[in-house]
Symmetry: C2
């Protein structure tokens, strides 16, 4: 039955999303305050690490495990739940609302650049070594 297969795939998304979100919360909580200043390095780390995962997923996992359930569990679920565009923007907006436009701009630039770099390198590594 087609709907049963579809429902099962949604359960994979839910499971991966639950695990990814809890992992994001725990990693961010563990890293918050490690650095003495108020720059949200913990979200830079979380989102950059998520981009390493997404590069590997696109290069390696997606071709090795083509069944949709892996895309649901890992790509739509875990990695999607682990990273958060909303937190990225919220932390950036925080700087702008406090008048610190330069730091806000640098924060956005840093996350974009590190994200693209992390995804490129892991995509290349995933295609080359695995």
């Amino acid at each position: 039955m087609m709907w049963k297969e579809d429902a099962l795939l949604l359960i994979y998304v839910a499971l991966g999303g639950a695990l990814g979100s809890v992992a994001r919360y725990l990693v961010a909580a563990a890293l918050k305050g490690v650095w003495s200043n108020h720059f949200p390095w913990e979200m830079v780390f979380v989102n950059t690490f998520g981009c390493i995962l997404v590069g590997f997923f696109a290069a390696f996992l997606y071709t090795k495990f083509p069944h949709p359930r892996w895309a649901m569990l890992l790509y739509w679920g875990f990695i999607g739940g682990f990273t958060a565009f909303s937190s990225f923007i919220k932390e950036g907006l925080h700087f702008f609302l406090h008048g610190d436009h330069l730091t806000g701009f640098l924060y956005l630039l840093l996350q974009n650049t590190l994200g693209l770099l992390a995804a490129s390198v892991s995509f290349w590594a995933g295609k080359t070594f695995f």
Copy 2:
């Protein structure tokens, strides 16, 4: 018992993250292909909508419902699971890997700008009207 309270909060993150990730998948699947070109408008929509939610959360919900469980369920869980920094970067990288640097750059710029705009306006509206 403290650990019991902490475990309960993680369950709120998991539940919100599961629902948010499934919502992201369903909204993206429903919107994909609505527009005839290959620009990932569905992810632009999802992430921008998530930034509207995060603005309201920061301005209104967080002050109205200060108990940590609401932050866990809605901010760390649902909104974090609904948006995805990894998909944002993956779609952008796709353009760069195919040599379409201008579209890739415009895509990144569009998501950053719409995200900040959406979060600012909803933050302001949340503080003003609610």
